[in-house]
Amino acid sequence: MTDFSFLADDSLVDALLMEVAGLLRGLIDRDEGGSIDLRGLPLSPSCIETLDRCLGQGEISVVLDAAGRSEIRETSLPGVWWTKHADGAGRVVALLIEVAVTPGILRADVEDMKRGLDRLPTLVKVAR
């Protein structure tokens, strides 16, 4: 892997932290969060590492197994989530900073719940 550490792009980290602050203020004041798509920005790996380090680790870490592994963890700022989605081959397909009370992908879907309920009798039979 190429070492990009020589790039001096701290200014981008500063700008993104300011944007996170703005989104978090919006979530607190107006219940309006938002997301920053880090893969859509010209960020070097070292810049992303710096950003990750600045935001820190919070209380919650979730691993989601849906069409590949996703890691969703709260940063040290409650309501600010570091979200990494990978596909079945482990390739990262989305890297986001989400500012939300709870990331939407964690909520259970009604149709999925119905399908689960339909499966319940079979599960009971198997369990016995």
Partner: protein, 346 residues
């Protein structure tokens, strides 16, 4: 597969829940540079959508475009795209041949009249009645004109289909032309590149299926999400350009330190594409990261635009001379363009 089933039903039967579809939508909105807030809308629309028929015709081409697009399909998340489309005709992939293939094409057109997407790779030779590329005794131009007439939209895949590409290079012995030179009155999307990035085709298809319309295009009919900025603006070597640090040869100290390849002929400053951000081979690398300058393959007439190894500042070719590129452009301008082109927040 039941053609009346919605994609949500099909995926549900296969054990894919809403989260998988939402995750796919998150990846696609990221790829399409759409606001992340649109991901739940896209997922909901995809769940309700039915498979879209795609008819793919290959003309004067090398099959490189099809090869690269096929390589994208597995095992990446884009594999899901094959649940979203019905590839009803593709000569290189389908089992049918000869009269069976011709019947398959007629049936696909008839069954999906006015609704299918027509994908084209390769240029269309028009000189001497189009005799330089024929399929089943029919010229490429004749097939394109006939099949495009009932298409919902036409996707010109690769630089050859978009602008004529290498077959059109001087002296263009076959009179090669791109789709947009020959078809009018139909929505046309150009997905240039030699070959094109597979993620761009996935993104265009998913956008069309999700929202019922094509994504926003630039003046050359390319999806803005992928072609809105130059390679240069997204390039990780861009800070060296701004600092005036250039490799002078492919094996000098500057090259070894990863300095800018502008003086070695890199066409990144005038080439619109997403190679520097999406990269190739599953996000592994792209030509500049491998030490070679961009050759500008997603721009019209790139093959005739001068040497790949002559810099934009000093090139003698008219094609590259009038680009308005000057050394010393500040980092703020470049980064601002990149940020405004790609950043999304809601």
């Amino acid at each position: 597969m039941d053609p009346t089933a919605t994609l949500g039903e099909v995926l549900g039967r296969r054990g894919f829940g809403r989260r998988s579809l939402l995750k796919f939508a998150i990846a696609m909105t990221s790829s399409l540079a759409l606001p992340p807030a649109l991901a739940p809308v896209m997922a909901a629309n995809l769940a309700k959508a039915k498979r879209r028929s795609v008819i793919w015709l290959s003309f004067q081409e090398c099959t490189g475009c099809l090869e690269t697009l096929l390589r994208s399909s597995s095992p990446s998340i884009e594999a899901l795209i094959f649940d979203f489309i019905s590839l009803d005709y593709q000569e290189s992939l389908m089992a049918a041949a000869g009269a069976d293939a011709e019947r398959t094409l007629r049936e696909a057109v008839s069954a999906n009249k006015g609704e299918y997407l027509l994908a084209i790779d390769g240029s269309i030779p028009v000189k001497d009645g189009g005799v330089y590329s024929m399929t089943g005794g029919r010229s490429n131009l004749g097939m394109l004109t006939e099949i495009a007439a009932d298409a919902k939209a036409v996707l010109a895949i690769g630089t050859c289909a978009a602008y004529g590409g290498i077959p059109k290079a001087y002296p263009n012995p076959t009179g090669a032309a791109g789709v947009e030179d020959l078809i009018s009155g139909k929505p046309i999307v150009n997905i240039p590149g030699c070959p094109p990035l597979p993620e761009v085709l996935s993104g265009v298809l998913v956008h069309f299926i999700s929202f019922g319309r094509l994504p926003e295009l630039d003046e050359l009919r390319r999806p803005l999400a992928y072609f809105g900025t130059t390679i240069h603006d997204q390039c990780y070597r861009r800070p060296f350009y701004d600092q005036g640090k250039f490799a002078k040869s492919f094996d000098d100290d500057g090259a070894r330190q990863g300095w800018c390849l502008f003086e070695l002929g890199c066409k990144g400053p005038v080439t619109h594409n997403a190679c520097a951000s999406l990269k190739w081979n599953g996000g592994t690398s792209f030509p500049i990261q491998s030490g070679h300058g961009c050759i500008g393959c997603s721009e019209p007439d790139f093959w005739d635009a001068g040497s790949f190894y002559t810099s934009l500042a000093g090139g003698s070719s008219a094609g590259w001379r009038n680009t308005g590129i000057a050394l010393g452009v500040g980092v703020a301008g470049g980064l601002a363009a990149a940020l405004s082109g790609r950043r999304k927040s809601t």
